[in-house]
Amino acid sequence: MSSRKIVITSGKGGVGKTTTTANLGAALAKRGKHVILIDADIGLRNLDLVLGLEKRIVFDLVEVAEGRCQLRQALIKDKRFESLSILPAAQTREKDAINEEQFASIVERAAEAADYVLIDCPAGIETGFRNAVAGASEAIVVTTPEVSAIRDADRVVGKLNDRGKPIRLIVNRLRQEMVRSGDMLSVEDVCEILAVELVGIVPDDEEVIDTTNRGEPIVLDENSRLRPIYDKIVRRLEGEIVPFTNFDQPGFFGRLIDALKAG
């Protein structure tokens, strides 16, 4: 069975690439897949933080690339899951410490040991982005329903199209009430503009900040409403046809008004 190498990118920073990578990885691992996450953001590494693994870093991506250690020595196994490991980026180096060939080769080696390799891409479209994309055979573009984010995502989609990689889209941090009031673009609008296959809609959730600060992927929280969302994304990635959650239900306020009206 060939493993899948997916880069998670966006162009715009801060839309949720790292959180998405961590949670997708966790959700896949929970389904029994062997997952390796690679942080390609050299110099600004965050994937380890978001998973709470920063204290266990001994070796990093650049040291693997420079042959100072083996890949398996650098991988950190997340003890909360059966089969989830991460390869952290280097913090004290710069993005040019590694080139596309080296990165692609590491991804290949990781792919030999996993069903899924997810690559957390840095923001922007410079060297870091090019390296991260070099290793992947598919891409997931993450965007928020805001004009600046979509514009950047569009630029990235263009670059990915140039490289012929299949692209899927996750719309992150959706605030349905803002869509309803016309202050945020709807998912349909976003898909229309970007013209890319939609694979997930993730609503905004204030718990995410706290869980990333604490290093606990939100899918570990059974009560989180985001957990079933990530599960659905994973099922779609695996090829299932899963209907999208309808966020267009009346929100709390709507329900209150209805309740009042009902008397």
Binding site: E54, K55, V58, E66, Q91
Partner: protein, 292 residues
């Protein structure tokens, strides 16, 4: 066994069984004491069972060239042959020296799969002076945790090297590096010797020292003391809250949960085969009491 000796029409340099940094030190000293004496000779270098990296050969060549010596060939175990070829040198199969030395070194190698990063290993070449510093401290009876009776891991005490070198190598211990100001994420301080930071060390910052590490502030990054292998090295901080601590070949990190609130300056040191943290005012008691 002497480092440098005559062999046939040329010289033999015996690096086998020697610590690389020290060997270079001694060689430099020997060449310096009689400049020009060896000019025009050729040298055969014996690496025993341990082929070094090719940049060691480059360094050796340049050192020898300065003294007018031609590096002719390498000798030692068969692994040396490919290295010689790689460097364009001849290879002479030779008797392997220093087998007992190697066995001793192998026995001292750290167990487990945690290894030093290259940044720590690369300090080894500069540490000749640091060794003198450490040995000096031992001699003065300073700052050392008493040896513990470890039943599960019988580690032979590192023998004091026979001082064949002191005639030539009189190296002052390296100065302690003082850094004033906060060390920010992504910044590193690597130094053979002790390191003192007057300021904070933020998460993402890294200190690698062959000696002790002292932080007059909050240590939140990664500190590696005794990076060259000195297990008596220590890490001190006004607020010891590191992402990770390393002393010699030991690595430790806090448990998963929220960091303890530190109100006292603390020290980290090797004890019982791991890294222990003690409030710094209790270090004296440790030493008085012996093992605790």
């Amino acid at each position: 066994m002497a480092l440098l000796r005559g062999k046939g029409l040329g010289l033999e340099l015996v690096f086998a069984g020697r610590e690389l940094g020290e060997a270079f030190e001694e060689l430099e000293a020997r060449l310096a004491e009689r400049p020009g004496f060896y000019r025009g000779t050729s040298a055969l270098v014996n690496f025993g069972n341990d082929p070094p990296s090719s940049d060691v050969i480059v360094r050796l060549q340049s050192l020898l060239n300065e003294a007018g010596i031609e590096l002719r060939a390498l000798t030692g175990a068969s692994e040396i042959e490919s290295l010689a070829r790689e460097c364009g040198l001849a290879y002479e199969p030779g008797a392997v020296h220093a087998a007992p030395e190697l066995a001793r070194r192998r026995a001292l190698r750290p167990r487990g799969d945690i290894r030093l990063s290259e940044s720590a290993r690369s300090l080894v070449a500069d540490f000749a002076g640091a060794r003198a510093d450490i040995a000096d401290r031992r001699r003065r009876g300073e700052a050392s945790v008493p040896q513990l009776e470890l039943t599960e891991q019988p580690e032979p005490p590192a023998p004091e090297r026979p001082r064949a070198t002191p005639l030539h190598v009189v190296e002052a211990p390296p100065p302690t590096l003082y850094h004033t100001g906060t060390l920010r994420g992504g910044q590193t301080l690597h130094h053979p010797g002790n390191v003192v930071v007057v300021g904070d060390v933020n998460p993402g910052a890294e200190i690698v020292a062959s000696g002790d590490v002292l932080v007059f502030g909050r240590l939140a990054g990664v500190a590696h003391a005794g990076a060259q292998g000195d297990e008596t090295a220590r890490v001190f901080a006004l607020q010891l809250n590191p992402t990770q601590l390393r002393i010699a070949t030991f690595i430790a990190a806090d448990g998963e949960n929220a960091p303890r609130v530190r109100s006292l300056p603390e020290a980290a040191l090797v004890r019982d085969g791991g890294i222990a943290i003690v409030p710094f005012d209790q270090i004296d008691q440790l030493e008085e009491r012996g093992i605790s």
